[in-house]
Symmetry: C2
Subunit: 288 residues, 2 copies
């Protein structure tokens, strides 16, 4: 396969190959492949970083955003799960605040780009932008000029799988089952870059000046918060960056322990590939 | 002016004209015009229904969604304010629940269509969908393939005027200053139809079955809530309807007094023109 100026050899995945020894294995071919092959690779002593959702909620599998809970990977071997894109950017922005003020409850509404559904979805949005009658196939309804409150499957309790991922993965990453998450996941006609409207209630009262300091000094976070000068993140502006962008930080008008903010990240980068690569970097760093 | 198969006479607005007697006067030409001419018309004994934001928060001016608080217009003469589009659809969906369970707190994130900014904004989105480099002029940043957490001007406290409208107008319409509203208003690349992700906490525990019954039997509300059969409202599907559509109703996973829901309405209809016309209908109805 040609990629940029390199020729990359693509080999067929086999059980034998998984029994060989690798520095790291990155899985990103869906849950079924991960379910079948990751345990074989692990058995052979490999470290597997899995981008699928399959292993995320298995109790013995670490679910890692390196900046937030990378320390749990010290001396670890085996399968490591890469969280869901919407979860990663939210916990990135909340981690430095949680350390100081202790989160109690999060209400989040997402504005998710079609790139999260793969290249076919990008084409579907392009085609529908040109021709509103172009029939949907990736999504159940037209996505152009529309908003779909429907990502992944629905459960009996009325939430979608995507929304419950944000609940369960957030609790697991912070290792705290008392954190309440109420999520609404919505697909919007944006090609790339997820946005999130987050309202978070802490156990103690955050001071805005300190909140800004905590976020500005956090690795992997870019504070873009000066609305009078049009400084707030939008998906179009932050594409291609590995950072998580935070803006529109403000105190709730009624509850001094509650903050609202707007969090945007490139879902293909920090929401997926970048986070997986950073897991490797973190593990290498902890070897020294 | 030709409109459909009718010829409509357009006359110049003058103070003299406002001193004549009319059944009803509908104002929809911006705050400055309303500020200057509505009091003259009122002085002459007219009923003015004003679509601008100018009179909404004046204490002596009724702010009305007919289904919610239309009764306050009985025997009223003078200026009546039509609420902001985002507020109208939210209070429509919440009113029947508030009557039974008493609202305490609302967290809302909006997904607002460009039609709310007028025809120029529709053209801007069309042009940018074709050419991503088409420069923004209605909006401060490109709206195509983007989300802008910026509607109307910013205040010192970090909220936008649009967000504070949702706080203040909701309290005024329900005549209850204890109702807490936390709003995030976001413009999305949708031509027409506003969507809202609403999480509402009541003083008592709502029962889902009863919630659905209350909403289905409410005039002006259409319950579209059977996600397993893809029944949830989207802006593209509900365009041209005078109803407010509610779906994705579910109980919070942690707080039995909290519900989440997805509310969609045609912002040019129920969010503006329809509500103004319904104010007239309600006043006529109360004459009998």
């Amino acid at each position: 396969m040609e990629w940029r100026d390199q020729t990359i050899t693509v080999e067929l995945l086999t059980e034998e190959k998984m029994r060989e020894k690798y520095d790291y294995l990155l899985f990103s071919a869906g849950g079924d492949i991960s379910k079948e092959y990751a345990p074989i690779a692990k058995e052979a002593g490999n470290i597997v970083i899995d981008n699928s959702s399959y292993w995320r909620m298995h109790e013995e599998i670490p679910l890692v955003v390196p900046e937030v809970n990378g320390h749990i990977l010290r001396d670890y071997k085996g399968i490591i799960a890469n969280p869901n894109c919407s979860t990663i950017q939210m916990v990135m922005a909340l981690a430095p605040l949680h350390r100081v003020y202790q989160m109690k409850r999060i209400v989040v509404s997402t504005y998710q780009a079609v790139s999260g559904s793969g290249n076919k979805a990008i084409l579907e949005l392009e085609k529908q932008n040109d021709d509103p009658n172009y029939p949907p196939s990736v999504y159940p309804k037209p996505i152009a000029a529309n908003c779909l409150p429907h990502i992944d499957v629905f459960y009996e309790n009325g939430f979608t799988k995507e929304e419950l991922k944000m609940v369960n993965e957030t609790q697991k990453i912070f290792n705290d089952e008392t954190i309440q998450v109420n999520a609404t996941a919505v697909r919007v006609p944006v090609f790339n870059g997820h946005s999130e409207s987050v309202t978070v209630t802490f156990n103690s009262t955050p001071r805005l000046l300190e909140v800004r300091e905590l976020l500005s000094s956090e690795a992997g976070i870019t504070l873009l918060d000066d609305p009078a000068h049009l400084k707030y993140p939008t998906p179009l502006e932050i594409q291609g960056s590995d950072s998580t962008f935070v803006g529109r930080i403000r105190k709730d008008l009624f509850d001094p322990c509650t903050l609202s903010m707007w969090i945007v990240a490139d879902n293909l980068r920090k929401g997926a590939a970048t986070n997986a690569v950073q897991i490797i970097e973190k593990m290498e760093e902890m070897k020294h």
